[in-house]
């Protein structure tokens, strides 16, 4: 689903215009990016022109879009005060008014997507570790089968193995089920590695939007860059040596080796 905002005003932003393209993982970078996620998920009041898939959002068709968007918060909040995970899932399905024929199958499918084992359903939420809680949050988000999924700092606290698993999941959702994925992070390293399209905010306005690596390699913008980009730009600046754009240190090392030798 393509999302288009033009000249939108809200409590935190004024005259905001940007496009979230379909078929790409979009990153949001900069101050108040988490508030922008809330705005896209239609949780915050806004004035302006918003299109979802070329259909304009109006007050009367608000419900059409609200249920197709899912926001995954950075911290898990136990909204029902239920500790048992199976009960929590059931309550969540009731709360979101989902029409499900076979609840147990639906829950199991959702757990399967994120790679959690079924026996987690017998456990209590208060005994889960951070990464298990994060995966549970993702599983709950996939339960409603949303068209747009917004992630607030999804990579934080996940180690490399879990993070790779998560990236595989979102790429599959994007390619196979054509979901729109939006990720906010204040760490440029993650955005550079895992997103294709980037929206940079500065002073409550959109500074620039476009291809992620193009933006980070453009020295025009005064933003904090990923470490690896910073290094490649420094080499070009000081020694006038142009190294190719790389995402992993392993590739960069080989470039340096051939260049220095």
């Amino acid at each position: 689903m393509e999302i288009k905002f033009s000249h939108v005003n809200s409590k935190y932003f004024n005259d905001l215009s940007f496009v979230i393209p379909k078929g790409k993982v979009t990153g949001i970078y900069g101050d108040n990016g988490d508030k922008l996620l809330r705005l896209i998920s239609l949780d915050d009041d806004s004035k302006g022109i918003i299109y979802f898939n070329k259909i304009r959002k109006l007050r009367r068709n608000y419900y059409l879009f609200r249920n197709t968007i899912e926001l995954v918060e950075k911290r898990f909040v136990n909204i029902f005060d239920i500790d048992n995970i199976y009960e929590y899932f059931r309550e969540y399905i009731r709360y979101r008014k989902l029409e499900v024929d076979d609840i147990d199958k639906k829950i199991k499918d959702s757990l399967k997507i994120v790679g959690l084992k079924v026996d987690i359903l017998d456990r209590r939420i208060s005994t889960l570790t951070f990464s298990e809680l994060k995966l549970l949050q993702f599983a709950l988000a996939f339960l409603t089968n949303p068209k747009v999924i917004l992630f607030d700092e999804p990579f934080r606290g996940l180690d490399l193995n879990v993070r790779k698993k998560f990236v595989r999941i979102i790429n599959r959702l994007k390619d196979k089920f054509s979901k729109t994925i939006v990720i906010y992070s204040n760490n440029p390293n993650y955005l550079y590695q895992y997103t294709d399209y980037l929206i940079v905010l500065s002073n409550n306005k959109v500074l620039v939007e476009g291809n992620t690596s193009d933006i980070f390699f453009d020295s025009k913008y005064n933003i904090r860059r990923p470490d690896i980009v910073e290094f490649i730009l420094l080499v070009k600046d000081k020694k006038n040596v142009k190294l190719p754009r790389r995402k992993s240190v392993m590739d960069l090392i080989k470039d340096i080796y051939w260049n220095v030798k």
Binding site: T129, G157, V162, N186, D227, F231, I253, I256, Y257, V260
Partner: protein, 256 residues
């Protein structure tokens, strides 16, 4: 160095026959992959888990539970910043003048003087963290346990926060921090780092010694900070001979 807290022969969760000492007046990082038992270990140190006499405190220094401060999530009891910070010393029965001085000093140290009268809701993540830390350290605890404090901070904020922890250590606190990102560790000096995997210590010691073992850390799923990663990998190619944390210095040494 004498040890302030030690666990011996711990058998809980992922831990089997686990022993560890926290030296007095040190800054200790406990890091590791997901589900390695970092948070649980901190809870054990805080005395929140019943482990049947397997934990010993130095009772000359830690006289009561008030000398241990444990922070896991950012929870607040009151709406305004000032009330939240005052609360933790008010309950100890200090006089009003003494509390005012304490609040002023800690606010100055943690750079939150200008937000003291704000509402918690209007603060950003980093401000909330500093307010929470202020309320935990104002009573001058001897042992400070922080469970993943830098989780949602940007790299610049993390760097400043580590400076605050260093200041607190100089004031005489023993600090144990759990962390899921190795990048947080390099901003400190003189800290000790323990790497856990599935309830076992797989590596420990000074920061740079631990970080230079990149194959072990990558195997358990930890990512090295960029400059360390670059230095260590360039060492294999005999292009550099020590870990260089400054990008400029690295460029100059490579392209002579």
């Amino acid at each position: 160095m004498s040890s302030l807290v030690s666990v011996d022969n711990l058998m809980i969760g992922p831990f089997t026959k686990f022993s560890m000492d926290i030296p007095l007046n040190s800054l200790v990082f406990v890091t590791g992959s997901n589900n390695s038992g970092k948070s649980l270990l901190l809870k054990v140190f805080a005395g929140l888990v019943n482990v049947k006499n397997k934990i010993t405190y130095d009772r000359k220094i830690i006289k009561s539970d008030n000398d241990i401060s444990y922070m896991a999530s950012l929870t607040f009891n009151y709406d305004t910043v000032l009330k939240n910070i005052r609360y933790s010393v008010e309950r100890l029965g200090y006089s009003d003048e003494k509390i005012n001085v304490l609040v002023r000093d800690i606010a100055k140290d943690l750079k939150i003087t200008n937000i003291l009268n704000k509402n918690i809701k209007d603060l950003n993540e980093y401000e909330k963290l500093r307010v929470c830390l202020a309320s935990k350290v104002i009573s001058n605890p001897k042992l400070l346990l922080l469970d993943n404090p830098c989780l949602f901070l940007s790299p610049l904020e993390t760097k400043e926060f580590m400076g605050f922890l260093e200041q607190l250590r100089i004031r005489g606190m023993t600090i144990v921090v759990s962390s899921s990102l190795l990048e947080e560790v390099i901003y400190t000096i003189n800290s000790i780092i323990y790497v856990l995997d599935k309830g076992k210590i797989v590596s420990s010691g000074e920061v740079l010694d631990v970080l230079s073992n990149d194959s072990l850390l990558n195997k358990i799923g930890l990512e090295l900070p960029f400059m360390v990663d670059l230095s260590v990998k360039l060492e294999y190619y005999n292009l550099v001979f020590k870990i260089n944390m400054s990008p400029l210095g690295m460029v100059e040494s490579l392209w002579k």
